[in-house]
């Protein structure tokens, strides 16, 4: 048991920080948001640096893959890092495309990155179906919720064996938790910085105890989510831990969205201010993979039946 980064993890973090500092961040997310689509340049850079293929690396593994997913989300990256680094390696052998979408046939609805994806991984009951571009039809959906999205129809592909659907779900839950941790952290940091500056009634808003307690509750939720995701990844996504991390993450997404917007006031809803770049994504993430009801039912099924 050791809760601090070792030398390899520190080196990867420093290197990731530099890459995201150069190529991601709010300005980039805002610019891409205007044109739609995924950040193909960032995906290329991440792959070239080897950051998308650490799942099976001995000195990195799923834990570091989850950390990179978290950091990418914090940097407002528009690349499906979790799908590629955490979900795909469990069901697809060999080289992977950069843009991968994940969905569940049981939950119809727009899918993140579906229109950009070279591969779609679909849960269909207890099996996973791997569909290449051309094996499905997409209809882009103009969504305000932070990601490029599209409806998928007519999907065919290679159906994997029993249990593969469950494996996809477990790693998807871990990826979601890591993404929510990074996204919520950035939204909260942005809000704390804003409330430290903004003065009302002659005081910084962040000096009011009523405000502080709400920010701190958000902080506890973000920490809970980040560590739950890291532990679930490090332990190989056991079903109860993966679903538990997702449940903790959904609570976090809800709380952080509500509080950061309430405490930021009207500016929080404007696109001239950065909060929406992260906060709106939280609404997408908390519903993905079936949302709280599906996570709860997965947890109950794995822990107690």
């Amino acid at each position: 048991m050791d809760m601090t980064f070792d030398d390899t993890q520190t080196a990867i973090k420093d290197s990731c920080d530099r890459l995201f500092g150069r190529m991601a961040g709010p300005a980039r997310a805002r610019a891409l948001g205007h044109v739609g689509g995924a950040d193909l340049a960032l995906a290329e850079a991440l792959e070239e640096a080897g950051f998308l293929d650490l799942f099976a690396e001995e000195d990195a593994g799923p834990l570091v893959a989850a950390l990179i997913t978290e950091w990418a989300a914090k940097a407002a990256a528009l690349v499906p890092v979790g799908a590629r680094t955490l979900v795909a390696p469990t069901v697809i052998a060999g080289a992977l495309p950069q843009i991968i979408a994940v969905c569940d046939a049981a939950h119809a609805g727009p899918v993140r990155y579906a229109a950009q994806a070279d591969v779609v991984i679909q849960i269909d009951g207890d099996a996973a179906v791997i569909a290449q571009r051309g094996d499905f039809t997409v209809e882009p959906v103009a969504s305000i919720f932070g990601y490029p999205m599209a409806r998928i129809s007519g999907l065919t592909g290679v159906r994997l064996g029993a249990g593969s659907g469950e494996a996809v779900r477990r790693w998807w839950q871990v990826a979601l938790a890591a993404e929510i941790a990074g996204t919520a952290r950035a939204a909260l940091d942005q809000t704390i910085a804003y409330l430290q500056q903004r003065v009302q009634f002659g005081r910084q808003i962040a000096s009011f105890q009523a405000v502080q307690h709400r920010l701190v509750d958000c902080h506890v939720s973000v920490e809970s989510t980040a560590w739950a995701a890291r532990e679930a990844a490090a332990r190989g996504a056991p079903a109860a831990l993966a679903a538990g991390a997702a449940i903790t993450a959904v609570e976090c997404a809800q709380r952080v969205f509500d509080e950061t917007h309430q405490l930021s006031g009207a500016i929080g809803f404007t696109t001239e201010y950065d909060l929406y770049l992260w906060s709106m994504r939280l609404q997408t993430l908390r519903q993905e993979c079936g949302g709280i009801r599906a996570h709860a039912s997965a947890l109950v099924a794995s822990a107690w039946t």
């Binding site: 809760m3 430290q196 809970s224």
Partner: protein, 378 residues
């Protein structure tokens, strides 16, 4: 960063579980007993632990300890509370009263107290809160006035758990009335049979013996009872209370109640009800979140750092899980929850006191705010 338990830790947990299975009745819960019965039980049990070195495993070897790691202390705490906490109040002596004496005690105090604690011979209570000093502990007014070589103690401590059965009180008193707040406080190790000390139970909605008042009416305290420097008690307290905040692996106990609620839900055939499964799953996720956050505290301690922020964050998460387990039990048992032997009733006291005992939730929130926001509150 890595999450694997080394073999020796896993082995220690296994040995503890075997010992507890052989020693305790099934479904044991010390909270089912009255205060006196519980205390007698815990003294007997502590002796059994002591012979294996497991009462004070984290202590230095010279004081009867095994110098076990912070991680093994966590394992011990989890296994004990997961099995109904048969040590009851003994955990307090072991986790921070003893360590305080090791840290600041004279040779005589160490000789006198540490052996008694590590053998499980004594129960302690904690004389901190006062009628007008709860969360604002540094405003305490119980006084220790110099009288030659002695001090005269005057004042009242309140809400004191275990006082009715304790042999000693770990007392905070103001020895310098002129000094500002925490600067004028000294610690005293007071025998509860000291003349002038009156202990009275305060009736409560919980089982008997939960709360007490301790009135110090001109109690004469020789200098030998003072722990650490005169007026220098606060730094000792601050250092040791981080141990208290994570002293009880609340998430682990809460999870044992959650498992009982699951058993009831299964028997009633309601596990598939989405409202039930959501309540149970949220509670389990919250227990796991608190557990992984306590790892952050233990990691700091294992590396010789003082866990502050991580300890406060953990406390908030632990309070959340206690409450969610209670809510889940209520959902499962419905109107049966009010029966005295219901799972919900068992979890009730833990859930509703979680945010009050050992420093209120709001104090934890204030302390976290100081660290992560850094703007002084009003």
């Amino acid at each position: 960063m890595e999450f694997n338990w080394p073999d020796e830790d896993a082995q220690f947990r296994g040995e503890l579980r075997d010992f507890l299975a052989a020693t305790l009745p099934e479904d044991f819960d010390a909270f089912d007993m009255g205060a006196r019965e519980r205390d007698n039980f815990s003294r007997d049990f502590a002796k059994k632990l002591s012979t294996r070195g497991w009462l004070t495993p984290a202590w230095p070897k010279q004081y009867g300890g095994l110098e076990q790691s912070a991680w093994q202390q966590l394992i011990l705490s989890e296994e004990m509370v997961g099995h109904g906490e048969p040590r009851t109040g003994q955990y307090m002596c072991v986790n921070w009263v003893g360590p305080a004496i090791i840290l600041a005690g004279t040779d005589e105090q160490k000789d006198y107290h540490l052996g008694r604690i590590s053998r499980g011979d004594v129960t302690w209570c904690q004389g901190f809160s006062e009628p007008d000093a709860g969360s604002d502990l540094a405003s305490l007014r119980t006084s220790a006035t110099r009288d030659g070589d002695d001090y005269i103690l005057r004042g009242e401590k309140i809400w004191t758990s275990y006082a009715g059965v304790a042999d000693f009180c770990f007392l905070l008193a103001r020895s310098d009335p002129e000094a500002h707040r925490h600067r004028g406080i000294s610690i005293f190790l007071v025998p509860t049979d000291a003349p002038g000390l009156t202990i009275r139970e305060i009736p409560s909605v919980f089982r008997e013996g939960t709360f007490n008042s301790c009135v110090f009416d001109e109690v004469r305290a020789p200098e030998a009872w003072r722990l650490g420097p005169e007026h220098g008690g606060w730094p000792i307290i601050r250092k040791l209370l981080a141990n208290e905040r994570v002293g009880v692996a609340r998430y682990h106990r809460a999870e044992t109640f959650l498992l009982k609620a699951v058993k009831v839900a299964k028997a009633a055939g309601i596990m598939d009800d989405p409202i039930i499964s959501e309540a149970l799953a949220k509670a389990k996720a919250a227990c796991d979140a608190a557990r992984v956050l306590v790892y952050q505290v233990v990691d700091e301690r294992a590396k010789g750092r003082q866990p502050d922020l991580t300890a406060y964050v953990y406390r908030v998460a632990a309070i959340r899980c206690e409450k969610l387990v209670y809510e889940a039990a209520l959902r499962v048992q419905g109107s049966d929850s009010v029966a005295p032997d219901s799972v919900a009733a068992g979890q009730f006291q833990h859930a509703v006191t979680a945010g009050v005992a050992t420093g209120t939730l709001e104090m934890q929130l204030n302390l976290i705010a100081r660290d992560i926001i850094g703007v002084a509150g009003a």
